[in-house]
Symmetry: C2
Subunit: 334 residues, 2 copies
DNA sequence: ATTAGCACTCTTGCTTCTTGACTGCTAAAC
DNA sequence: GTTTAGCAGTCAAGAAGCAAGAGTGCTAAT
């Protein structure tokens, strides 16, 4: 375990590095941070911190840089008090007070605010389909050959999809659909719209209802449709010095453009309120230069999706975590 | 006007530059392109082409590079035949055959295909609200305190929006809304949902219908809501040599992240089928390093939005234009 | 255990030089 | 009057060398 002074030195190095993005020398620490010892002592401690894996050195005669393990220790052990100002709190409050009619809207506002306050790129994704229960299904006739299916879930999320037909649909058929799907699906998870249900309906319904097949097909498609990745402030990242490296910048764009990796990450399990992924802690090679911090958007403890920040490993973890904690609390308690 | 040989040389230089991204020397042209003259002659011609503004020179002892004017001449006068392969045609066909229920879906597929075939970043935006007429308005009750308004337009676009209330809504109120809005709005442009209409309704309806105010408010919001910019293949641009320059890369990200400039451009008037904007032809400073080529997504000559390509000025105009022409024709004739 | 002092290392920025790719011009050839 | 061979002149880009500066690690004194 690290003794008290080592902790202080590690903290000082990380704080300094987060600010300057330059390798930190023993001299700087001795000067700026009051640790009551000389640069030589700090140097000795640094050697040990490096041996234990908390620090890295770009080359022999340079200062130290935190390793992933160093950041991890910092996040787990060294961040104690909240790092959020009164102005920030007020700003977040005012943003989250906006009246919205759809929850997705609120997720977007929160994501937006998060990016504005932290100055990092933020991302969001809606709740997983398998976590939502169907509250109501409504079919609406549009014109004479288009049907809109609207599914209201218990999270308040509304999914709509449209089905086109080659022949006219009657009001009666719409009624049958409404009755059928509501009686079969109310209270069930979204995933209950599946092949077995389709087969069940077909065996049960003796009259041939040839509208059902396309309806089922389209509903299934709508449910399993790839999640949307909402992105805010991608340009903010490009102001950071680590994005001077073309390699890093390209990886970043790729990561966000492919979406897949990000969606995976945002959808993974949540032990704590706030989840921190530091660089190569993620097995995925593409993430090795970045850190991602996420939290679940909950309202009255119902899962409404995930919101996150992506940035360089040298991230202001304490600020991001504080801001997230506050936003998360506000969203849930509203 | 340019004589025949000058045209050929200009074409050769542009073709070569599009391929290599390096300033083109008189020697290369003399070697690779059969113009039956020596590099010295080509050099003489180049001097004149530069004087007339078709070519630029990065520095005294370097080869030539096309100027914006050069590209413009190339696009207007030199591109003659289609530059699209059988495989590409087949691929596009197969992609556009996908059955879709919503037109937005088709726009996305086309945008996607365009990016895949050309290897550039593509963008799309839906049709302007003021160009669409209302065909039908339907209000659907979700639960007891949520109302979903669905607007079907003559372009087949469906807009939905949700309105929440603090008290229960009755089926009767829903019926009144349906009758009222359909009788007032059928055949009118989307923009007819405005303040004057609201005032008219209020003066006409003597019974106090306190549901109407929030409905109108939300409908207006939905109509005027900022257009969505759909983006595909942003990472493809980052493979191009011009994006080695951090400055250019940052401008690109900014351009797409801000959306505003792109939306403006995609929504501007259309003289021809295909519109080409080359570098600083756009007054906007942010566009000076890029070229944008757009076309209207039309189906049976109805306007369904705009699709475009954004890339460096050194773009394969002939390929992009050919592919766009083909996609455009396919979309319209389907 | 701490620290002053110093030799050693390595980056960074600066010059200088060389190489090579092009051009533009001139004068001869067609 | 074109066209072209030939050649001097220009400039970018890369290599090499050098000096300065920042930082470390070690040793010996405190």
């Amino acid at each position: 375990m690290l003794d008290d002074r080592k902790k202080k030195i590690l903290q000082a190095i990380i704080d300094e590095y987060i600010n300057t993005a330059e390798p930190v020398s023993s001299g700087t620490i001795a000067e700026k941070y009051n640790l009551d010892c000389s640069s030589a002592t700090i140097r000795n401690e640094m050697v040990e911190l490096e041996k234990s894996g908390y620090l890295d050195k770009p080359h022999t005669s340079s200062g130290r840089v935190p390793s992933a393990q160093g950041y991890r220790f910092y996040v787990n052990e060294l961040i104690k008090e909240d790092n959020i100002s009164l102005e920030e709190i007020k700003y977040i409050q005012s943003k989250l007070e906006t009246k919205v009619n759809e929850i997705e809207e609120l997720t977007k506002i929160a994501t937006n605010t998060l990016s504005e306050v932290t100055h990092y790129t933020s991302v969001a994704v809606g709740p997983k389909a398998n976590l939502q229960n169907i509250e109501e299904v409504k079919f609406v006739l549009l014109g004479s050959r288009m049907l809109m299916a609207v599914i209201l879930t218990d999270t308040g999320i509304v999914k709509e999809t449209i089905i086109k037909f080659d022949e006219d649909i009657t009001e009666e058929q719409v009624n049958i659909l409404n009755n059928l799907f509501n009686s079969k699906l109310k209270g069930k998870p979204l995933e209950a719209i599946d092949k077995p249900l389709e087969e069940y309906i077909f065996s049960e319904m003796h009259q041939s209802l040839n509208v059902i097949k396309p309806v089922m097909l389209q509903l299934e498609r709508a449910i399993r449709e790839e999640d949307q990745l909402y992105l805010e402030g991608a340009n903010k990242s490009f102001e950071l010095p680590e994005f001077k490296s073309l390699e890093v910048a390209k990886n970043f764009i790729n990561l966000l453009d492919t979406k897949e990796v990000m969606l995976d990450l945002l959808n993974t399990g949540f032990a704590q309120d706030i989840n921190v992924y530091i660089g190569d802690e993620n097995e995925n090679e593409k993430l090795k230069d970045f850190s991602i911090i996420t939290f679940k958007h909950r309202y009255q403890d119902k899962d409404l999706g995930t919101i996150g920040i992506i940035g360089p490993k040298r991230m202001d973890y304490s600020k991001v975590i504080s801001v997230m904690k506050y936003i998360s609390k506000k969203l849930n308690g509203k």
